[in-house]
Amino acid sequence: MSESFKRTPTKMVPAPSHGIVPERDVGERPVLETRNLGISFGGLQAVDDFNLIIGKTEIAGLIGPNGAGKTTVFNLLTKVYQPTMGTILINGHDTAGMNTAQASKMGIARTFQNIRLFDKMSVEDNVRIGLHNQIQYGMASGILRLPSYWAGERRQHERAMDLLSIFDMEDLAGVRAGSLPYGAQRRLEIVRALATNPSLLLLDEPAAGMNPHETEELMANIVKIRDRFKIAVLLIEHDMKLVMGICEGICVLNFGKVIAKGTPEDIQNNPVVIEAYLGKRKEA
């Protein structure tokens, strides 16, 4: 069943500063680099000394037990929270002082653990909102229906349909996003994130609530997206089959601290990880 996703192990090499990246990305600037990233809420150090490097076309995984701080890392990267220490570099640019919208323009896009679609709007409109900063025209041409409005709308429509075709969702374009089945909503969130033309796609538990067959499809699609858009993916996931199946570099978080980093092979055999995470899962 999983034959088609047999990952040929990626050769990982040391990155110029720290951490590892796929060998093919060595000549390129890493899409994400964090240095000593941390945040404390009151007295609680939710994330501490988080260092991560992601290569330009790497598929990376962020795993760890519940409450380890994985989603907090996502919120830090997308500037929902401002870090209390450390640095985030996206494509080499420091994001200090930026807000979420500016981080998005820097090339970082995400999906949410608890799906956040624009429920009352159509599937196509959800994607068009993702295209907002990609295909523009002014407010006046929108109200007065100037030629730039029609041209912009047509380009948005074509691009939205093209993006929806990744998941064969063109037929659903007119459907209300809130009425889609769960799996389709997750896929639509990925399409909306891709519409912002990111260089790094953050997926927060993309396989949550999916059946094994859907997860298989999702794995193929994540790889397909990476290959087609030449982007990096960082995903949080509890489904170890997915993580070990497609991630090239994995970072394990526990109580806000990185306890292990390396290739899937390293992680699978790391006694600290097995004790903190994988071992417990097997018993369950």
């Binding site: 998005s104 956040r116 429920d119 709007m121 407010m139």
Partner: protein, 346 residues
């Protein structure tokens, strides 16, 4: 196909307004329409514009604003001053030109007020925003109570708190404007309604309108795809203020006496009632409810003293009938077409 449906929806809305206008014209022409109802025509146009513009803030942008009458008041008084200056000070004969100028000035100044108020207000959310808009509405009314404007030759003179200005007084503090020439006409009111609908409906169905609605539906998701939340909230709020100011200018030039007290908190609530009754976010509903509810007190004249009581009862009944899921289901079961959805609910 989707685009066609949207276009059809829009054409239906415009069609209803145009048909109602033509019907009124026929009724006036044949003399069927009563005098009192004829006097209501311009206020109806004004309240339609007010309701549609408030729906942009409340329904489309999702911010409960309780100070909409403030923008109407800014538009009304600046419109009156602009029209009087143009007709008396500059000597422009055409009433139509004066009225259009007044509407433009009213819209512009209300828009400026919208920017000034929007900057602090739109930092707040939910109930807090509502209360602060209420406060700003009252501030505008109190400021209007203190503004004195006179026309000295062709120059306008402004004063604050009873300064005894030379020349012909246009705005006299709490007395407001007196001796205003009635320039408003039903035709211009109709055009203003079409203009307001054109702006709001086209804005909703454009890139910016989608951004505004996206922020309403999920602020976090909207930010995550790179939408500038402040910009689009501001866009909706200021557009709404401009349209309210234009309606206010028309309203001001429809009466011989206009006082700041006419734009009280009650007026904001009245417009909000139109919006809620017509359906939050439903533009056509706002048009219909503003029309019917403005006419209702006239139509209820037969009840004489109990008029406002009946008005209130009608309001309560309509609210119950449109928002009670049980009643909706009951109606749904009676209609054969919607039988399936009724079963789903069970």
């Amino acid at each position: 196909m989707k685009r066609n449906r949207k276009l059809a929806e829009k054409l239906i809305t415009f069609g209803i307004v145009i048909a109602a206008f033509l019907l009124c014209k026929i009724l006036i022409g044949t003399g069927v329409m009563s005098r009192s109802l004829r006097g209501q025509l311009i206020p109806i146009c004004v309240y339609i514009c007010m309701a549609v513009s408030l729906n942009l803030t409340v329904g489309i942008s999702g911010e409960l604003s309780l100070g909409h009458a403030g923008f109407m008041s800014v538009g009304a008084f600046s419109g009156i001053v602009a029209a009087m200056w143009l007709s008396k000070g500059v000597g422009v004969e055409s009433q139509l030109h004066c009225l259009l100028f007044a509407i433009l000035v009213g819209g512009a100044l209300a828009g400026a007020a919208g920017v000034v108020i929007g900057i602090p207000v739109l930092r707040l959310r939910g109930d807090y925003l509502a209360i602060v808009t209420l406060a700003f509405g009252e501030i505008i009314r109190n400021v209007m109570n203190c503004i004195y404007v006179s026309l000295d030759g062709s120059t306008l003179r402004f004063g604050f708190i009873n300064p005894g200005l030379p020349g012909k007084i246009l705005l006299n503090g709490p007395m407001g404007a007196t001796g205003v020439k009635k320039m408003a006409s039903f035709e211009i009111g109709f055009v203003l309604v079409l203009f307001t609908l054109f702006v709001v409906l086209n804005l909703i169905d454009s890139r910016d309108g989608r951004a505004i609605m996206a922020i309403r539906d999920s602020r976090i998701a909207a930010e995550s795809v790179g939408l500038n939340v402040t910009k689009y909230k501001m866009m909706a709020f200021v557009t709404s203020a401009v349209l309210a100011g234009m309606a206010g200018a028309l309203y001001g030039l429809n009466f011989s006496t206009v006082a700041p007290a006419m734009f009280k908190f009650d007026t904001s609530i009245l417009v909000l009632v139109f919006v809620v009754l017509g359906g939050i976010g439903n533009i056509r509903g706002s048009v219909i409810s503003a029309t019917l509810l403005t006419m209702l007190p006239e139509l209820l004249r037969a009840f004489s003293d109990y008029r406002m009581l009946v008005y209130a009862i009608v309001l309560i009944l309509v609210m119950i009938f449109t928002n009670n899921p049980k009643l909706k289901n009951a109606v749904g079961r009676l209609l054969p077409r919607r039988g399936a959805s009724g079963k789903e609910a069970e």
